[in-house]
């Protein structure tokens, strides 16, 4: 039995409890009574994957169906992987400890580009061919993917049988139902895949041929048979009737976010032009306060967690935020539960709520102006003014904080040296303001931390056309920023720009990238998002061997009439709207948020209902 084999080695690896399952809340079924088995794979370590909310939702959703069984799978850390490979232990799922290869579905959630190599590694550990074309005609396992990264599915297209676009609550079950039917008929894989391509939201990459122009841009994406020419994402209409779990799997080991998370809304009204999530999750939909409070209470009771967090792109935009927070704070205080509040726009809070919030907020203050000058903030449509930044910091300082962390991006479209110097100046003004406050924390100096990331242009944003700065340019700007800082009270840190380059290439790539991902994985790349594992030199070799230039994907402005690798994918936001937004950005003009005024992004055309009354 696989279990005995696993146990033989478990005590020689770090944190063995992540490899054996058995946590409270995990679902065990009798497999003889189950028709369809789904291995939900998170392509990163247990500690990261178990913090992920989407997985919890889909896990419970599938398990609600008596005859379907969803189990969890994570990437084993290198110590255990070595043991697995040495002793022929295949990748297995944590509930049954059965090999993943025996499952009907093997599904991956793609949350960040730097997890792509882990998918290949996990398939390989499972003994499943990494290339979809090598999986033959046997029906199972069907390898599927979902998650935000697959809005441009092309770099991963050749590894997956089905790619699920948009929100999974409905379409996952539809696909499993169809599969169940085909399994009973004893159908072949290709028959099922052809049929599944007719389900809205299910993209079957093998049913499309991609043609290229001489200049390497995409010429056409041609569907085969009756596969739809454009594949459209799925979304959930009503957040109050959509399924939400009443229990979570509660890990024994401490993981990144070990707490109850309740989703309060989906989508975002803001339209920051660099933010992919802000566009691909449209339209904006919220849960009622009543439901949020009910779900929070049920989950806290069932899991026993003593921490609750609210999950969304922008919780402060909930139309009933004051009332909601007030209720939740009252509940959590009474139950010894810590309410973890995300970064909130506190400018529209009542005095009374602010007092309450201050009481429960323990972590430091973070703020994301993203750009150093008002002009550049207008370019990216980050609707926050210097006055608001100052005000928020002032309130925080008066409330006893003496450190703030500010997030910025570098290499934004139209950025000049003035904008970079502007970051340092803004930080300096915050420092100066601190010393004008009379009741500032006594005996403590102020500390302003600046964290900068290299801008990564992403599909389905107005900046999808834009080029990323080269490494040389970013390094020059980093130096300029350092030189502009005049005090030790301001500290600067940045992300590795090689990482950002790779993210841009994988985010905006086409199908030819799959060869590169494969080559990089063969050279030993995995866990790329873990600094100590990131091997950029191996990636560079992989690009060279495949004859693919990263600069072509990352550093090139794409003309508005170029066919983009993801143009046959419909995420509701129209290309015309994105073109207009990019043009507006270049004029440093802002676009009002969805609540103020609808900008006709294309969502209403698809949903048929107005986003706001």
């Amino acid at each position: 039995m696989l279990k005995d084999k696993i146990e033989k080695y478990l005590l020689s690896v770090q944190k063995p409890s992540r490899y054996i399952g058995g946590e409270c809340g995990s679902v065990i079924k009798d497999k003889s009574k189950v028709d369809v088995r789904f291995a939900f794979c998170f392509p990163d370590s247990y500690d990261i994957g178990m913090s992920h909310l989407g997985m919890k939702i889909l896990y419970s959703l599938i398990n609600e169906r008596e005859n379907y069984w969803c189990e969890r799978v994570f990437a084993p850390w290198e110590d255990f992987e070595a043991i697995m490979r040495e002793n022929d232990i295949p990748l297995y799922a944590l509930e049954s400890l059965d090999p993943v290869k025996e499952f009907d579905f093997v599904g991956f959630t793609m949350q960040y580009e730097l997890s792509y190599t882990n998918v290949l590694n996990m398939l390989d550990l499972a003994g499943i061919p990494v290339w979809a074309k090598d999986r033959g005609e046997e029906l199972s396992p069907i390898v599927v993917a979902g998650g935000p990264c697959v809005c441009n599915p092309e770099p991963l297209a050749d590894f997956f049988d089905i790619i699920i676009l948009g929100e999974g609550e409905e379409v996952n079950l539809e696909i499993m139902d169809l599969y169940h039917e085909f399994k009973r008929k004893g159908a072949k894989r290709s028959e099922f895949l052809r049929a599944v391509s007719q389900i809205k939201g299910a993209y079957v990459p093998s049913l499309y041929d991609v043609e290229y122009n001489a200049d390497n841009t995409v010429k056409a994406v041609v569907p085969k048979g009756n596969a739809p020419a454009v594949v459209t994402k799925r979304y959930i209409k009503d957040m109050d009737s959509v399924y939400y779990p009443e229990n979570f799997v509660v890990p024994f080991t401490d993981i990144v976010h070990n707490r109850v998370s309740v989703e309060v809304l989906r989508g975002c009204i803001r339209g920051c032009r660099f933010c992919q999530a802000g566009f691909i999750y449209r339209p904006f939909r919220e849960k009622s306060t009543l439901n949020i409070c009910k779900q929070s209470k049920v989950l806290c009771e069932n899991t026993g967690y003593d921490e609750l967090s609210l999950c969304s792109l922008s919780t402060s935009d909930h139309s009933d935020i004051n009332n909601m927070l007030s209720n939740l704070i009252d509940y959590t205080e009474g139950e010894h539960i810590n309410l973890a509040l995300p970064s909130l726009r506190i400018d529209n809070f009542s005095e009374e709520l602010l007092e309450k919030v201050k009481k429960v907020r323990k972590s430091g203050l973070t703020f994301a102006p993203e750009a150093g000058t008002q002009r550049l903030r207008d370019v990216i449509n980050k609707n926050v003014t210097e006055e608001e930044i100052m005000n928020t910091c002032r309130i925080a300082f008066e409330g006893g904080y003496s450190t703030v962390k500010l997030y910025f991006m570098m290499g934004l479209p139209t950025e000049t040296d003035e904008d970079i110097v502007g970051i340092a100046e803004l930080a300096q003004r915050i420092v100066d303001m601190y010393y004008t406050i009379e009741n500032r924390p006594k005996g403590r100096g102020v500390q302003v931390s600046i964290s900068t990331a290299t801008f990564v242009p992403k599909p389905f944003t107005p900046f999808q056309f834009e080029a990323q700065d080269t490494k040389e340019e970013i390094e020059r700007k980093q130096k300029l920023l350092i030189d502009s800082i005049k005090t030790k009270k301001i500290k600067v840190s940045w992300h590795n720009s090689d990482v950002s380059l790779l993210e841009a290439v994988l985010a905006k790539g086409d199908r030819r990238l799959s060869e590169v991902i494969f080559a990089a994985w063969k050279k030993g790349c995995k866990f790329d998002s873990w600094g100590e594992h990131f091997k950029f030199d191996k990636w560079v070799e992989a690009f060279e061997e495949c004859g693919i230039s990263p600069a072509f994907y990352a550093h090139r402005f794409r003309e508005y009439d170029e066919i983009l690798p993801w143009d046959h994918i419909n995420y509701y936001v129209s290309k015309n709207f994105l073109i207009n937004e990019d043009k507006t950005a270049r004029m440093a003009k802002t676009t009002p948020n969805c609540r103020q005024k609808c900008s006709a992004c294309g969502v209403v055309k698809e949903t048929g209902v107005r986003c706001f009354d």
Partner: protein
């Protein structure tokens, strides 16, 4: 405030829960039982729970002890069933009662040990020779760093039994607030003197013994 002592088993998958994780897990579990657990007072109130002995990662046990306080009286059987209702596979409460013996009275623990390997006859002979040595020097981590100790005077083993798959025996070792020796210390020392591998070792705590030589429970 009512003091409660509980005894639970930790077996199967649950043996991979570390002591620290178990502590955290129990705090969460109490929230789900609805039992009127007593919280410490002060700036950061938290439920008060205490384990008599730590159990090494990977060990099973039939007799783990957890003490806690309740704000009001609850029937002991009900405490057991409420706790069991929220336990994962492998943790099972056996009893709850008002504590009589002090935790500090714990002096030793008895473990059953099973060593698996191909040639169990040879393993038994080698281990038996090993136990006959005048001294069994092992390295042990202490607060001051690594130090050498002689296990020999503190080890009490039962007769060795051997079948096709494993060699088994019981061993009694010091346990408690002062000195804690694990069977792994003994087995690791043995592994150092043989030149073949032991496939797997299974260890389970069977009982806890007081300083007066009687069973603690």
């Amino acid at each position: 405030m009512i003091k409660v002592r509980t005894v639970f088993r930790k077996t199967g998958r649950a043996k991979y829960i570390s002591h620290l994780d178990l502590n955290r897990f129990m705090l969460r579990a109490f929230r789900r039982t609805g039992l009127p657990i007593w919280y410490t007072e002060g700036y950061n109130p938290h439920p008060y729970i205490a384990f008599a002995l730590a159990l090494s990662l990977g060990y099973e046990s039939d007799c783990e002890i957890m003490d806690f306080n309740l704000n009001s009286e609850v029937d002991f059987d009900e405490i057991v069933s409420k706790l069991n209702a929220v336990m994962p596979e492998g943790i099972e409460f056996i009893s709850a009662f008002a504590p009589v013996n002090k935790i500090t009275a714990i002096a030793r623990s008895e473990f059953s040990v099973k060593m698996f390997c191909d040639d169990t006859q040879k393993l038994m002979k080698d281990f038996s020779d090993f136990l006959q040595r005048d001294s069994i020097i092992v390295e042990k981590k202490t607060k001051k760093g690594m130090s050498e100790i002689d296990l020999k005077p503190s080890v009490e083993t039962s007769e060795l039994v051997c079948d096709d798959s494993c060699v088994s025996f019981n061993v009694i070792l010091p346990a408690g607030t002062q000195t804690n020796y694990n069977p792994s210390l003994l087995i690791d020392a043995f592994k150092n003197v043989i030149n073949y591998p032991i496939d797997m070792v299974k260890i389970c705590r069977n009982s806890i013994i007081s300083d007066n030589g009687e069973k603690f429970l």
